[in-house]
Symmetry: none
Subunit: 221 residues, 2 copies
DNA sequence: TAAGAAAATTAATCAAGGATTAATTGTTTT
DNA sequence: AAAACAATTAATCCTTGATTAATTTTCTTA
């Protein structure tokens, strides 16, 4: 079971996040100030830290600088996170700006924890003649490579992860929001259309099926 | 019997909702301010809360933050619900904007209560040779897939959830109104007819039985 | 009163039009 | 180069009204 430390001086928000995480079966630790967090960290070693930068006393930046070897998701009210902060975030860490919704937060938590256990596991998704390399962002049809944009790749990756599942448009937007934060429902259709035509150009098949009034899924071959 | 708490300062609207819910056999509690609600919650633990955000004194947001472990349907006059609020809504909760109609409200109430008890997120309903996958919106007769429209699917799903139960036409409309909000009783017959012929085309059987003057149910096989 | 015929109600099917949603294409913006 | 946006075309679905069939109720009359 994963243990997550929430560092946030706002008790309300902290409570909500705690409950959210507990519902997902995470073990939660709390700290309400930077110094309390550091004290706690000398004793425990959580798997992930959620850090609000707006802290009284010891600043969030200071805390961040002191944390070693534990992935951190920085939660900030500032729209643009300081470059200084970005420097402090090593490869294992991430940041998210308020307001964010619970889904996005949980998605990022999952990503951090997964990446930690699965390390640099490079998974290659296969579907019929398609091969998708999550590590190198490459897609092949048999031996021919198909050049996809970031958004197209994210959509195809999602659909290929669960080929039988139907994803609603809003669900797709939620789940690819990490890779393409600004994509809207109106443009999603266009991305799907472009993705289809690229796949069709190489394979002659239409791999993506529309489910009327609901969303998209991989077409059974 | 489910107990539902209505938190709304407008007595008229509250009365309407209360009567609506009582007719559906729910047990109703009332609170007219945020503080009254919190007081009441220290004593009772309803199964669901309907919360109007426009409250005097203690704001709806404050109340929401204090509610723990009870699903909430937020009723808001604002068309766009604040991101702040969305953050506070965990997976068990929902929001609905005014003006809404009673059917929609009841449908959402049902969804919340059901999801709490039955956790019907990814179930596969079976009836004789039929298999219905609620997750992927697919129906199979033995191995052959039967393509249904959204409305037909919603009707079949409902009937298969309680195969022995007779559903009146208006009840069916109520219960599928989340999936197909605009379906009227006149067209429901046609949907049933089309659904029957699709099932018959694949199986040779007539799975839906009309109960004269009342409604429909699954036919015993 | 009981049987059968007519009327009324409810159900089922069909086909056409309108409405909704999806897909594509082209243009503008970043 | 990629994504967002706008506009058009295409596909599918839903509703409606007309028609036919099934069932119940009412009415008639022996």
């Amino acid at each position: 079971m994963y243990q997550i430390l929430i560092i946030d001086d706002d008790e309300h928000i902290g409570n909500m996040i705690e409950e959210l995480l507990r519902k997902e079966n995470y073990d939660v630790l709390r700290a309400f100030s930077g110094s309390e967090a550091l004290l706690l960290l000398s004793d425990k070693q959580p798997d992930l830290i959620l850090l609000d930068l707006m802290l009284p006393g010891l600043s969030g930046e200071d805390v961040l600088a002191k944390i070693q070897g534990i992935p951190v998701i920085v939660v900030s009210a500032k729209v643009d996170v300081d470059d200084k902060i970005k420097l402090l975030l090593d490869g294992d860490s991430d940041y998210i700006t308020k307001p964010y919704d619970t889904k996005e937060l949980l998605a990022r938590v999952l990503v951090q924890l997964r990446e930690r256990t699965a390390a640099t596991s490079r998974s290659i998704l296969k579907y019929d003649d398609l091969r998708l390399d999550t590590q190198n962002f490459e897609v092949f049809a048999d031996e021919a490579q198909i050049k996809l944009t970031k958004t197209e790749f994210a959509i195809l990756k999602l659909l290929m992860q669960n080929p039988k599942q139907v994803y609603t448009k809003s669900k797709i937007l939620d789940l690819i929001s990490l890779d393409t934060p600004d994509c809207m429902e109106s443009s999603l259709k266009v991305h799907v259309s472009n993705l289809r035509s690229k796949l069709r150009g190489e394979t002659g098949k239409d791999y993506i099926e529309a489910v009327w009034g609901i969303g998209f899924k991989m077409r059974e071959q």
